[in-house]
Structures are given as structure tokens and as C-alpha cells.
Symmetry: C2
Subunit: 340 residues, 2 copies
Amino acid sequence: MAHAERAEYVCPTCGSRFPADSWLWRCPRCGSPLDLVGDAGFRRVRLGEGNTPCIESEALGAMVKLEYMNPTGSFKDRGSSLAVGAARDLEYRCVSEDSSGNAGISVAAYAAAAGMGATVVVPRTAGGPKRDLIRALGANLVESETREEATRIAQRVRECAYVGHVYSPFFVRGMEGFAGELRSCPSEPDAVVMPVASGTLLLGTYRGAREVGLDVRLIAAQARGRAPLYEAVHGRDEGPPSRLADALLVERPPRLGQMVEAVRRTGGDVASVGDEQLVAALRDLMRAGLLAEPSSAASLAAYRSLLESGSIYQSERVVLVLTGSGLKYAQSLPGILGRG
Amino acid sequence: MAHAERAEYVCPTCGSRFPADSWLWRCPRCGSPLDLVGDAGFRRVRLGEGNTPCIESEALGAMVKLEYMNPTGSFKDRGSSLAVGAARDLEYRCVSEDSSGNAGISVAAYAAAAGMGATVVVPRTAGGPKRDLIRALGANLVESETREEATRIAQRVRECAYVGHVYSPFFVRGMEGFAGELRSCPSEPDAVVMPVASGTLLLGTYRGAREVGLDVRLIAAQARGRAPLYEAVHGRDEGPPSRLADALLVERPPRLGQMVEAVRRTGGDVASVGDEQLVAALRDLMRAGLLAEPSSAASLAAYRSLLESGSIYQSERVVLVLTGSGLKYAQSLPGILGRG
């Protein structure tokens, strides 16, 4: 903790600043999520996260960045690595998290690796296999009625550091390395398309790209019916809500303003995709041998939709981010794909 | 296929040699598995395999090489990448494979990526989630009564290249890069402990290590009741057979003689582990945040058993290889760990 004094939490809403030598997950003055500025010197917990492969897929006509090849099968590991490490360095003995699945598995694994306890609150609707993995990793699994209730419960677990990825400044910071890795893709991309819910990867990439001087358009793929970023940029979304994109369920992301800025300032865009587009995209991912989760297919579906509308140019070099692993969806995949 | 003429299949049993410009999976003279010698110039199918993380685990007291972080969740991807690529380069339109699971998923994904058909034959006892993933990837899934029958059926699929990992010279060759990667571990290892069934990773590492001048003891972990390498080195194995190590079920590996040589020549050893040891080891992997499949826990269990017997020294720098992903075992893990 030698350098903790140098770093600060900064509130992007009311401008308050607080030294990063204690655990804060929202602004004590106005309740906004915080940003972390400066080098806090926190040590990440390491399980092999990051530096995921970026390959050319001829079948898809784009490059793909395989975030599902993180240790617990999702990009969330980049955030957990730092958030859990910071909680440990600040001498917490446990962490708490609310999650529809991937973040819960990730936090459970990193807490275990750090020798800390973890309480993960999941809505009853969360997939069975994801719940099973959280339990297998030794976390205390708590069920809630809704996604919103999960958040409220996780924020109140006594004596635990709340690492909730939707708020945590450490999660966003933990993602920043992703941007620099884009330089190791087969060619340097003009645009990156990624599934977006709480916006941690979007914001981490935005800040990381500025840090390393990478000029890249940030394009968000959202699930129809849960597309607050799409609505903030394009106005009301229409059509039947997605039921498949179960990893993209954040209704009111507290960092929405920052997300809009990241998209606008990079000349990016947002697409909202429905289940029909998702299934077609997922099928093509499988045909390309890319074992991603259904929600990850949103980036391919959005890419196609924006190519068609002219918002992405044929000549652009594009990276599609596949954020989560299909290995967690073994049982449901054949049914979704009509191969039951 | 410019350089195919330079490479040869060599039979390690009868010494016959054949040019590697056609598909052979066993010696046409004596039926032995073949080795591939020289540079055939075959192009791998790429899905991001290899270069897996190697990290220090303080909790386990050893380094761990995370082969479960390959694209389809197992080390088999190193072999499929080359074997399916070679079949494609030799103008086959489909591949066939027999597998209890991991290799089948892997071959299905690489065949899809190569735009080829795949027939995967699995014994009825194979885990449901693994079968589901093979289907999701679009392969033709065939069920057999036994593991042995699966092999016979897969070898006879008309007009398909049989890429069966138990025989394929391409699978062994595809693993060779693993050895050089050991140099990127936190420290260069004196010994590597890996789960062994058909021996492809063991033999690939043995040959790859000689290639790059790496001096490392190769230590095999087998499952009690299916431990032919253990029996060949130490004599009769005793105790109740393992039911958990479902990825280590090859009863009569055709490369057994070569496997014995790899262990003996490197000053290595073999341990056979039972389910009680496996469960204890798996529990400790989860406590360390390492989401491996039950069979992979064999390397930790073997490490402990050989430390106790004095066959591995306390002072040795050891890498434990975790070959397969626990993400495929979501539903069964809590039960195995007593966290149901």
C-alpha cells in the first residue's frame, strides 16, 4: 500500500475527490459512481486474465477478440483481478457482488484465490450452471427476487467490500489494458464492437485507448428491451425484448452519461438487437468454431445491422468482442440453435 | 502443400517410412501409430490455442499451467489445430474422431472453423454437457456402447480423415509447442506433472523439450483403475478404480511404449490416484480459484503423493498442468465437492 496516497476517487457528477486509501464504491456526497485517478499501487490477484487472443475470422469477415478465453470464461476477470486485489490490500476479509452470472463466477474465483470470503447475490432467474459454478468456488450464494434486489442486498453485506461491477471504479480501471491489446490484433482496428450492459468494458476501453493514443470507434451492442444506451443515443427502442441475452440485463446503468460520451466522442454508435438476430449470429459463431455465449453474439448481430445501415463501412477494420464463454451454456445451446 | 514432400510418417515399431502427402493414421504394414518427421508445411486452423498462462499458486505451492484456457477449454485444441488443418490441406471435406468429450468438442470446433464436416463418436457414458457442446458446434454426434466401439466406428467413417487423438501423429506434433512455453513460467521448471491418458501431451512435451534443449522431468498422473502407464512402470495398480476422472479413460494407449520411454529418459515418474485424492485436490484447486475439470485435479493429487514418497523433492520447481475446464462441469461440481 506504499503508493495509495497518490491515487484518488473522483466523482464525475459533483466533482468531489477522496483519497483512495479506503474502500468507496459510490460518492459519499451525491451517490454517483466514482472514477479512480492516479496509481493506487493495488496489487491485482492473478489467475491468468487478459492478453486474450485476437484472430481473423474469414467466415465472419472481421477480427474477433476472444474475451471468453479469460480464466473464468468472461471479460469480467479483468475487473475482478483488480477490484478483489484492492479489497485485499485494504484489508477486507470478504467481498460482495450482485450478478446475473458471469461477474459472480469471476468474483468468486478471485476471492478464493485471494483467500477471501465472497457473497454473491443472484436473481432467481439466473442460469443454473452459473449458480453451480459460484457454489463450486466456495462463495456464499444468496438468491433474490429481482436483479434490483440483488444489488440492494449485495451492497449491505456487513464488513465485506462491495465490488459490484456496475458501480466499482476498480472494474472500469481493470478493463483499461484491453485497449492496448487491440494493437496486437492482426491489423489495428478502426472500430470495436462489444456487447454493453453496465459499460465497464466500454469505459475501460475508452480511457485505455486515450492513454495509449489509440484512435478507435467504440460501438456498443445492446439487447432489445434492455437498451438504455441505445435509447439515450437514438431514442425509443422498439420490438419484442430479448430473452436470450441474459448477460446484458442492467436496466439503469449508473454510468450511462459516461457511456454516451464514450460512444459519441469516438464517433461510435449503438445498435439494439433482438433474439432473431442473436440466434442467427450465434449460429454463425458456432459455424466459425467460436464457442461464445448467446449474449456475446450481440456484437456480431450489431456489426451486421450497422454494416447494413451504413454506420460501419465495408472498408473499416473491425474487431468483434466475444465477452463470454459458451462452455457455461452447454445444455441450452442446442435448443437455442435448433439442434436439440 | 508446397513442402509436403519433405515430411515423412515414420513407424516407431517396424521402421517403415511413408511420405506425408497423404492421410495415414497408422502404419499400413504393422498397424502401429505413426510419428511425423520433418516439416510438412501443413497450415494450422487457428482459434487462439496455445500460449496459455503459467502462474505461481502460493496456495498450492507450485506453478500451474492453465491449459483449460484453450479455446474449447482443453489442451486438445493444440492437436486439433494441426490435425484438422492437415486434413483440410490434404483436401478432405470431413474429419472423424472418437472421444469421451474434450477431444470431440475440440475437433468439432476446429472442423467448423475449417469449413469441414465432423463426425464425433462418443460412448453413451460421456457427460451430457460435452455431448451438447459437440452438437451445438454442428458436428454429427454418434453414440456407441463403449469407448472401444467408439474408436472402431470413428475409424470407419467413409471419406473422412480419422483424426482420432489416441493415434494421430498430428495430435502429438501439435502439442510440441507446449514445451517451449514452459520457459515463460515464473521460473523454469525442473519437473512437469500432467494428467495422462493417451499420452499425446506427454509425448509432445518430450519431443518439444528435446527440440528446444529444455531439461525437465516428465511426471504422469493417471486415474486408478485406468493406469496402464503406471502399471508398465511400477507394476500392478491396486485400490478402487476412479469414477471421477472421466477424461482419462484410455485403457490400452497404442503409444504406451513411447510413453514409458518419455517418463524413464527424463528421470520422471508416474502416480496413480484414486477418487478420494482427486476430490481433495479438486477442492483445493477451487479454493485457489482455479476452475479446472475433475480429471485435471489428478496432477495436483499426483504431485502431493510423489512429494510424500520422495519422488519429487521439496526443492524442485514444479509445474502442474491443468488440462481441462471446469466450466463444462458446472452441474456436477457442487455434488462432487459436497457443496450440493
